[in-house]
């Protein structure tokens, strides 16, 4: 059994995403894409009995209005966009049964920045280069939803019963506009002065309005460089932050001149600027929920701690966490 829903209002850049993203094409310049907050994304799928990596919707800042053409289950997680079904408020983090003809409205995000909408059976758009994940800016795997568009759903039995994600297993959103972001030194921390590295991990970094799925721009103190950056082969380029083009890791804190930009899911795969620090993979979800003008504090961790954090999130995004309502 498969169905579809129709987009009545698209919201602000609502995109289909899927895990693990577009793997194997970085060397041709295609970023991984995939959900910005994979924790919430996976829990949305769990609520409707899907594989946790199935294609679902990512809604950014302002959610869409959707009209269902078939019966299905949905699960809403991530940022609170005050979801309403036919004018009635519906709960998040819980399985919702929807009938054909019903209309779902998501509003503006109150806490967090991105909501996730899972559908039983998953979204069944055509994969491009092995993935349904949308890289909106280049139109790879499709684009953001537009009004009038029908989005196909796959066949799926759905969850056997109404289930919920217990509060202590959900991602914890900041309520004081400050986020502690775990990050590791490298790959290019040796291009900065030791003092600058210390400063990076101790001061407030403000998120600029010009932030999106292609990068989170930060405002903060100036960077000072080491001998390696100041006294280098001319092939690296003129600015101290220039390096011979190299690969950009997901989550890298990229330094272009004096502006740090955190490289996220739709960011360039390569380029000619240094990456002194990299956000831990288990902290990437937080960047998907950060809003402009909020403050980031980076906490320096090592690979052992990054491994523990990955394990915690992995455990929180398995069917075992579900509770019957």
């Amino acid at each position: 059994m498969s169905g579809c829903f129709t987009v009545v209002k698209p919201g602000l850049q609502t995109c289909v995403q899927e895990l693990p993203g577009r793997i194997g094409f970085l060397e041709q310049g295609f970023p991984f894409s995939g959900p910005f907050d994979a924790w919430s994304f996976r829990q949305a799928n769990l609520l409707v009995g899907n594989d946790r990596d199935a294609a679902a919707l990512e809604c950014q800042f302002l959610g869409p209005t959707l009209k269902f053409q078939s019966d299905c289950q949905i699960g809403i997680t991530g940022a609170d966009m005050r979801p309403e079904l036919d004018g009635e408020v519906v709960p998040m983090w819980t399985t919702i049964e929807v009938k054909a003809g019903q209309q779902l409205v998501l509003g503006a995000a109150i806490a967090g920045a991105r909501s996730y909408l899972g559908f039983s059976g998953g979204i069944a758009t055509e994969p491009v280069l092995g993935s349904r994940a949308v890289f909106h800016q280049a139109g790879v795997g499709g684009c953001a939803l537009v009004a009038g568009q029908d989005v196909p759903l796959g066949g799926g039995a759905g969850a056997n019963e109404i289930v919920t994600i217990p509060a202590d297993k959900r991602p914890g959103f900041s309520n004081d506009k400050r986020w502690s972001i775990e990050a590791l030194k490298g790959p290019n921390d040796d291009w900065l002065s030791d003092e600058t590295t210390e400063i990076f991990f101790s001061v407030d970094w403000k998120v600029q309005a010009k932030s999106s799925r292609t990068g989170i721009r930060l405002t903060g103190p100036e960077f000072a460089f080491s001998e390696r950056a100041l006294n280098k082969n001319a092939d690296h380029g003129h600015d101290p932050s220039n390096i011979i083009d190299h690969g950009y890791p997901l989550g890298a804190v990229n330094l272009a001149g004096q502006t740090p930009i955190i490289l996220v899911h739709d960011s360039p795969s390569t380029g000619g600027f240094i990456n002194p620090f990299t956000v831990a993979s288990a902290a990437l979800w937080k960047l998907g929920q950060v809003k402009p003008n909020e403050v980031l504090n980076f906490r320096c961790i090592d690979r052992a701690e990054a491994t523990e954090l990955r394990a915690e999130i992995d455990a929180a995004t398995r069917p075992e966490v579900l509770e019957r309502v």
């Binding site: 693990p20 793997i23 194997g24 094409f25 970085l26 060397e27 041709q28 310049g29 295609f30 991984f32 280069l129 280049a138 139109g139 790879v140 990050a183 590791l184 490298g186 790959p187 290019n188 280098k232 082969n233 092939d235 690296h236 380029g237 003129h238 600015d239 220039n242 011979i244 083009d245 190299h246 690969g247 950009y248 890791p249 997901l250 989550g251 890298a252 001149g257 360039p268 795969s269 390569t270 380029g271 000619g272 990456n275 990299t278 956000v279 831990a280 993979s281 288990a282 690979r303 990054a306 491994t307 990955r310």
Partner: protein, 287 residues
């Protein structure tokens, strides 16, 4: 300079940067590709993706399947087996790209930038000044007088980094500071020691010297040469720029629009690294 040993730098908990040298140089790039191919052939389950670049490569991996230290050790062992030499022969396509040098579209883009940054020297004049070239005609002759090596792809789907294969055709240019917010699709630019062809309308920083009407990226796979891939180039291809006049430029443009344009792709040549390096040395000695 090619380092004695690969240098490993962690990029968070899921990526490794492996540096082999610190120059934009054919030999280092060739060894990067050789090592990446060998690492790929070893089929490590933990490796998700590889990006060969000018003098380094990036490994994206699953740290729950293999530890950082173990993966670095494996790559070092593969490198030790391969040796540090650039030798051998490989099939290499030769792709001809038609160019209208100093065309209206990129000239307008440069003029637009200079409305905000009036002190910026127009791109072709800046490149001429920095490389001791007398005028635009000399720049056009030098730029179209060599084959280029596709050293890497990245930053944007299909964006290529091209190294001139003739060492006498090396042209150097700084990148825009600040970068442009817009570059026309098909613009041809020089940054550092590289040439690129913008596959799509994107921000950019390379100095613009011309425009090709031929697509190097086709997201809809409309053109026949994109049946198997969205991007035209692969690392290890060679590119030659051929100047065209406005009439031919317009003709190609209309054939691209009609979906009938075929690229000139020669796919029967084998590129001998040893013979190339001998030739390059002789070219340099002459210069």
């Amino acid at each position: 300079m090619l380092y004695d040993e690969p240098r490993f730098y962690p990029g968070g908990d899921c990526a490794i940067e492996v540096e082999l040298g610190d120059e934009m140089d054919f030999t280092i790039n060739f060894i990067v590709h050789k090592l990446v191919a060998a690492v790929r052939d070893a089929k490590f389950e933990a490796i998700l993706d590889l990006i060969p670049e000018l003098a380094s490569f990036q490994i994206s991996y699953d740290p729950d399947l293999m530890r950082y230290e173990d993966l670095c050790r494996e790559v070092s062992a593969i490198y030790a087996d391969l040796g540090r030499g650039a030798t051998g022969a490989l099939p290499s396509r030769l792709i001809t790209i038609p160019v209208l040098y100093f065309d209206g579209e990129t000239e307008a883009c440069i003029a637009d930038y200079r409305r905000t940054y009036s002190e910026k020297t127009p791109d072709p004049e800046l490149v001429c000044q920095l490389n001791g070239l007398s005028d635009r005609a000399a720049l056009k002759r030098l730029h179209s007088g060599t084959e280029y090596w596709v050293a890497a792809l990245g930053f944007w789907p299909g964006l290529c980094s091209l190294l001139p294969l003739n060492p006498r055709a090396r042209i150097i240019a700084p990148k825009y500071n600040p970068p442009r917010t817009h570059t026309p699709k098909g613009a041809i630019g020089i940054g550092g020691a590289l040439t690129c062809i913008y596959p799509d309308a994107t921000p950019g920083g390379y100095q613009l010297i011309g425009h090709t009407p031929a697509s190097t990226y086709d997201g809809e796979q409309r053109l026949p040469d994109f049946k198997d891939s969205l991007a035209l180039f692969r690392a290890g291809d060679r590119v030659r720029f051929v100047p065209v006049d406005p009439e031919e430029y317009d003709d190609i443009k209309s054939r691209v629009a009609a979906g009938s344009y075929r690229h000139d792709i020669v796919d029967y040549q084998v590129f001998s690294v040893d013979r190339y390096l001998d030739w390059a040395k002789a070219q340099e000695a002459e210069a």
